[in-house]
């Protein structure tokens, strides 16, 4: 007699009166392939855990974003936010698409330059630019976005010393009706500081004021805020033309567009609530087009969106280490990815799923990482099929911030592969070894030897 397929015995508490509040299916479909390549074969070849990037997703998402803006506005330019993901392979894929570089440190500036980005296509943002960084940026005609008055005076000083005309914009913070108000970067709009800064730049006569920049926040779920931001920048552009007869070349609206990840505690999943590129584009371009800016003086619109361009292209695949029961009877599954690799687990309810159909039985599960640390929780509460030790999982939408904010902690950082347009895998960052870590250390002579 043929044996019946085995399904583990389960008992589930029925919570009458608390149905799934969204009526959303609780079944987790497995994700076995990315761009036609089996995740299992990638893990077998490159190890576990493994970051997997999809080049076709990067290019497709970019084209979608560019189309949304360029179909509504005559002059659009994207700049790749290096801090979101500065793997060279990722940056270069964007640069091949015609995207400039947006950097916020000397290190990132050098990385963009080493990638071959021409100086005049590098936007230099952030509060931390050393004198040497500024000197380099001025020499290369990069676009320096001034964050504070100390920096402004430093640049004026350097322009005299170097006998150059630095190309500058100012970063402007403003009230766009969202909480918390971002006012730590740049000059404030409402209290007149931004206008004051612009007047001082004009008075210095040594600087080329070419743009106005703002970045209103991160993970913005409302497009209205961008409309307000674009209108306020347009007001400044109009005032500049009125008072100084000066026409600015671009308005940089920054980034902050939400990706489709679900933020912890959100009522609806991000896939349902995140505005599309078209929504953001409509809000921003309509504000600029309907502003008082003269039609033939419409500035270039620069966008520095990072997260929304790269999140979907990143996957993190790995292996289940163990299962156990917690004191209250809930299941705990331990996986080989910790919060040191998946930094975004602190604020997202990440979409994690098995890579092959395991079981139709789902159980309330806490998913822990492998670190010997209490904070190492990847998902606090998730209806999850019972994966066995050795089974594989994949986390979706991890392309933004994780491979820049990750930490070498307890474990070594793993390999990263990118799947090209034909679905062929390329190793784009080698996994760390003990040598990687030790090569940076210097042990004093008297601590070299010991007897135990």
């Amino acid at each position: 007699m043929e044996k019946l397929p085995f399904e583990r015995p389960t008992i589930q508490k029925i919570s009458a009166g608390i149905p799934s509040k969204h009526g959303i299916s609780r079944k987790l479909e497995p994700l076995s392939h990315i761009d036609g390549l089996s995740i299992k074969s990638l893990i077998n070849e490159y190890g576990s855990p493994l970051f997997i990037l999809s080049e076709s997703s990067i290019r497709k998402t970019y084209k979608e974003a560019y189309r949304a803006f360029s179909s509504r506005y005559p002059n659009v330019q994207f700049a790749w936010s290096y801090k979101t993901n500065y793997l060279n392979a990722v940056c270069k894929a964007f640069h091949q698409e015609g995207v400039w570089a947006e950097v916020v440190s000397g290190f990132e500036y050098d990385k963009a330059a080493a990638n071959g980005v021409p100086g005049e296509s590098i936007i230099f943002n952030g509060p931390n630019k050393s004198k040497e960084d500024l000197r380099k940026a001025i020499q290369n005609s990069s676009l320096i976005h001034i964050d504070h008055f100390d920096e402004l005076y430093e640049i004026i000083h350097l322009s005299r010393e170097m006998d150059e005309r630095p190309k500058v914009a100012i970063r402007i913070n403003m009230d766009v009706g969202v909480y918390p108000k971002w006012d730590r970067f740049g000059f404030n709009f409402e209290n007149g500081e931004a206008w004051d800064a612009l007047n001082r730049i004009k008075a210095s006569k040594n600087l080329d004021l070419i743009g106005l920049h703002t970045h209103i926040g991160t993970y913005m779920m409302t497009t209205e805020a961008y409309k307000i931001a674009a209108s306020k920048l347009a007001q400044l552009a109009v005032s500049l033309e009125k008072k100084h007869g000066h026409v600015i070349q671009y308005i940089d609206i920054g980034g902050g567009f939400a990706s489709k990840n679900t933020v912890r505690g959100a009522y609806y999943p991000g896939t349902d609530t995140t505005p599309s590129f078209d929504d953001f584009a409509e809000a921003i371009t309509s504000a600029l087009m309907s502003s008082e800016i003269k039609p033939d003086h419409l500035p270039m619109l620069i966008l520095e969106t990072g997260r929304a361009l790269i999140d979907d292209a990143g996957y993190l695949a790995g292996t289940v280490l163990a299962n156990k029961r917690l004191s209250d009877g809930r299941r705990a599954t331990i996986i080989d990815t910790g919060v040191n690799l998946l930094f975004t687990a602190f604020w997202y309810e990440h979409d994690i799923r098995p890579i092959e159909p395991i079981s139709d039985q789902m159980e309330d599960t806490t998913i822990y990482g492998p670190l010997c640390m209490n904070i190492d929780v990847i998902r606090g509460n998730v209806m999850f099929p019972l994966l066995k030790k050795g089974d594989h999982y994949v986390v979706r939408r991890v392309g933004a911030y994780n491979t820049t904010q990750w930490m070498q902690f307890i474990n070594l950082r793993p390999q990263i592969v990118m799947l090209d347009m034909k679905g062929k895998a390329h190793l784009v960052r080698k996994g760390e070894t003990l040598d990687t870590i030790n090569s940076q250390e210097i042990t004093p002579e008297h601590l070299q030897n010991f007897n135990l």
């Binding site: 019946l4 389960t10 008992i11 508490k13 009877g329």
Partner: protein, 89 residues
């Protein structure tokens, strides 16, 4: 392997479709088919050897995997207070 098989509390109502009602707590539960089958075998007073032999013959599963899931299942029953508390006399 357990020395003594767990005992399902007497006043627990279990339907043929796997619906479980605990009149003491007012909670209800649902069993999947194998969960229901195991509860019936336990209630019939089967030893663990007989129970696992019967189920291993019937289902595509090895002893080690079965043991693991059986203990996990019993742990869940215990967690939901569906099992009589053993007192060592």
């Amino acid at each position: 392997m357990p020395n003594t098989m767990p005992k399902i509390r007497k006043n627990i109502a279990i339907s043929e479709s796997g619906f479980v009602f605990d009149p003491l707590s007012g909670e209800s539960y649902s069993l999947n088919p194998l969960g229901l089958e195991i509860i019936h075998l336990i209630k019939n007073g089967q030893t663990y050897e007989d129970l696992s032999e019967a189920l291993l013959a019937k289902y595509e599963v090895d002893q080690e995997t079965f043991d693991r899931y059986f203990y996990d299942f019993v742990a869940a029953l215990k967690q939901f207070n569906l099992i009589e508390v053993e007192t060592d006399a």
